[in-house]
Amino acid sequence: MVSPTDVPQSIVLRHVSRHYHRGADEVRALDDVSLSIPAGSFVAFMGPSGSGKSTLLNLVCGIDRPTAGEVIVAGQRLDVMSEDRLARWRARHVGLIFQFFNLIPVLSARENVALPLLLVDLDRGERRRRAETALRVVGLEGRADHTPAMLSGGEQQRVAIARAIVSDPDLLIADEPTGDLDAKSAEEVLDLLRTLRRELGKTVVMVTHDPRALRFVDHAYHLDKGLLLEGHAAERARAALDLGLGREPGGGQGLGSAAP
């Protein structure tokens, strides 16, 4: 997969490996992966458990650093940054969305959304205004004072998405955003992510098992055992999803345009 050189690249990975030690064994979570994702695209990483997709995601959002190789996101080399610089970088450039939403139970929806704004120098009124704008974008302006326990799973995930966009990051990273949702909520969330990409020009990177996702994304990467599958291997993986061999049988039917 080669991108045209005149389109700015949001994410570039060059020969990236990530190895862990688990006891005496060395686990190759990711092995010599190179790829590049253009700005403003919506892509998915797919693959079975242990394929390395979560590791890849961690590297891309600056939570983890590679054992070898270069990670360049939004024009910055992440692999050479310190923990604290990475934290500041994340606050500016990345919005995170998780499978289990990870809202803070003791805070209201508005307060949860406003949480990342604590890292930005804004007055209280401005924080509140931005949090409400973000809630409006995800269609939850009416639930601003509800705590997570009072919201449905789909609503909670939308609050989490509002939290991800409230600081206006370049990049949205979603880890199994539909993993804990029913079919209807899942489609709504995927649609919302596509809308964000289309209307706000965000780059959206998602890790998922969900075959439905293929209808919404511009491109899907397939990983297995730490390797990026290409050519025939990728086709086979996609076909397997088609046949319903993904984790959620019956979830995905009628794939849309998978490739850009």
């Binding site: 961690n58 939570i63 983890d64 650093r65 934290a87 803070i104 307060e111 604590l118 509140r128």
Partner: protein, 388 residues
């Protein structure tokens, strides 16, 4: 949304635990304050009633060894001495109780006002004390215990002298810290002679008031020089150190109080540290999330530390307030029930309050430091496993 709102929300997360910790820290602070209130109360008492221009003179051999009465006249003649008064222990027991419940002293009525100007006894009452042989001046503390009034007659049986004397209370020392019963030396002297006994030729203690604070040292030296080569050499001390020397016998007890105070403080640290570590452990996923969102080590560290410090400070404040309330109540009750006497001496002074609050703050910092630092320091990739 502010950091403070976040701290507040977190403290409300597990209300039971916050309450248990809060109460434990408050109790411990209360204990520390009460323990320190005893020595502080005694110190405060001495500073309240002792004057720095009053000097006690006693026989160098000890309090029960007397001095010749003639000495007091010689002392009054010394330069720099405003007044001096000989005191003899009367040892009077109030008949209704039959036991010694307050100190009673036979003093020279003419010199009482001169030695104790700081007692602010109304001049008319002092004049009555001089005028009536059987007059008595009584400290307010004792007046209150027995509901005595000026003009009332009381009989005190002496355990030391073979006399039972009737007195008319002619004055009150307007100071609730003081409870001594002062009678006229002349009256006791005549009563003894009337029984065919030798009169009072002695002074057990002499109080000297020095005119100028600067002259205290030189007056003490001159006084002791008067009897240096007699058979009753004296030892002079300021009133403050005289009283303090009685308290010195409590020194070992105080040492143990301090040791126990230290132990209790350590206890609060343990309790608060335990809570802080529980709070951090229980929330590790959320802390990981905040880190993933881009909160650096410093905001995470401060957030967790402020949470512990705030809890400890508030609880410590409650503990101090409780200590003030309890000691105030004890003083009120001890004023009415003499058997509670020593418990009325507890006084939560300014320094004790500061110490209690400071301790609570310190506990918050010490106990919050390790968990907050540990949580802030863990690499985000490691903590994220608990999030994804």
């Amino acid at each position: 949304m502010t950091y403070l709102a976040l701290v507040r929300a977190n403290l409300r997360r597990n209300r039971l635990r916050t309450a248990l910790t809060g109460v434990a820290v408050a109790l411990a602070t209360l204990l520390v304050c009460l323990l320190l209130a005893m020595p502080a109360g005694l110190d405060a008492f001495v500073s309240r009633v002792a004057s720095n221009t009053r000097v006690s003179v006693i026989n160098r051999a000890g309090l029960v060894y007397s001095m010749p009465y003639s000495l007091v006249r010689k002392i009054r003649g010394l330069p720099g001495v405003a007044d001096a008064m000989a005191v003899v222990w009367y040892g009077g027991a109030y008949e209704e109780r039959g036991k010694l419940t307050f100190p009673s002293f036979a003093v020279e009525a003419d010199h009482f006002g001169g030695v104790y100007p700081d007692y602010h006894i109304p001049p008319a009452e002092l004049a009555a004390f001089r005028q009536y042989r059987d007059g008595a001046i009584v400290g307010r503390a004792t007046m209150r215990v027995y509901h005595w009034r000026i003009g009332q007659r009381v009989t005190l049986r002496s355990a030391i002298w073979p006399v039972d004397l009737d007195f008319r209370i002619v004055g009150e020392i307007p100071n609730a810290d003081l409870g001594a019963f002062y009678i006229s030396r002349e009256y006791l002297d005549q009563a003894l002679q009337a029984k065919g006994l030798p009169g009072l030729g002695i002074a057990g203690l002499i109080w000297v008031r020095v005119a100028q604070p600067e002259a205290v040292k030189s007056v003490m030296r001159m006084v002791d020089d008067l009897s240096r080569n007699s058979d009753a050499p004296t030892s002079s001390q300021t009133e403050k150190s005289f009283f303090s020397s009685f308290l010195a016998t409590l020194k070992d007890f105080m040492t143990i109080i301090m040791a126990v105070t230290a132990l209790v403080s350590l206890c609060i640290v343990f309790i608060a540290a335990n809570t802080a570590s529980l709070a951090v452990r229980e929330r590790s996923a959320e802390i990981a999330l905040m880190k993933a969102l881009g909160f650096g080590r410093r905001p995470i560290f401060s957030l967790l530390l402020v949470e512990t410090v705030l809890l400890c400070a508030l609880s410590g404040g409650a503990g101090v307030a409780l200590a003030v309330g309890i000691t105030t109540a004890l003083r009120v009750f001890a004023g009415r029930i003499p058997e509670l006497g020593p418990l009325g001496a507890f006084y939560v002074t300014g320094p004790v309050i500061a110490l209690g609050l400071g301790l609570a703050l310190l506990v918050g910092v010490v106990s919050g430091l390790a968990p907050a630092w540990g949580a802030a320091r863990r690499p985000v990739a490691e903590t994220m496993r608990e999030v994804f």
